[in-house]
């Protein structure tokens, strides 16, 4: 299963990359995707997540070709 992973803002700095294309055999949820890409880092309690540009929570399912984004609290406006 091919997933495009995006990190934004301070999380991108921490992860050392803004984008990652991963091939995950057993990922069922967004939390599984996080585990596969976060190098052992715990999910921050204020982490925001989106699948295909819609907000979701960590239990949301993922499918082949999904775009999964992780980012810190937003600070626009």
């Amino acid at each position: 299963m091919s997933i495009k992973v995006l990190f934004f803002a301070s999380l991108r700095d921490e992860m050392g990359r803004g984008e990652d294309d991963v091939d995950l055999a057993n990922a069922k949820s967004v939390a599984d995707v996080w585990k596969a890409v976060a190098d052992g880092k715990e999910m921050p309690s204020n982490l925001l997540m989106a699948v295909n540009q819609d907000y979701v929570n960590a239990e949301a399912p993922v499918q082949d070709n999904d775009e999964v984004a992780f980012f810190p609290p937003v600070t626009g406006g």
Partner: protein
């Protein structure tokens, strides 16, 4: 019809409001609204006690526009307004530059005020933008928005 625009460079909020109002008039005819409330966020040169000389506004291209359109749709559903507008800056910005404009048009002032307040509060919690401030001695990500 609600309009959402991201600007990758300076924009003049009040000139944009004037343009949108002439579009509104073409669409609905004259005399259809009695109340317009707008909020403009402007970059200050101080934050949390520090001087801020510049700022970078990161966004999530695609999702940001979608999130702002959803916020407009919700405002149109929740308040008796004729129309609404959200403009937001992205990229490198300087003190005194406009960051955001939200505005709502209605027959009466209560709905216009409530809707534009909702637009900006919702934008602050939902729209994927992130501010990085340039200070005298480096840069920092803004960690959270101040309360409304």
């Amino acid at each position: 019809m609600p309009k959402v625009v991201l600007f990758d460079g300076a924009f003049e909020p009040y000139a944009e409001l004037t343009v949108f109002e002439s579009e509104l008039m073409q669409q609905h005819g004259t005399g259809q609204y009695g109340a317009t409330t707008s909020f403009v966020g402007t970059m200050r040169d101080f934050n949390e006690g520090d001087d801020v000389s510049a700022m970078f506004l990161e966004h999530y291209a695609g999702m940001t526009e979608k999130a702002l359109e959803k916020i407009c749709d919700q405002a149109m559903a929740d308040y008796p307004i004729l129309d609404c507008l959200i403009l937001h800056r992205v990229g490198e910005i300087k003190p005194n530059d406009s960051i955001v404009l939200v505005a709502a048009w209605s027959a009466h002032r209560g709905a216009a005020f409530d809707a534009s307040r909702m637009l900006i509060e919702k934008l602050k919690t939902d729209a994927p933008f992130w501010k990085k401030e340039t200070l005298n001695d480096g840069a920092r990500w803004v960690e959270k928005n101040t309360d409304g």
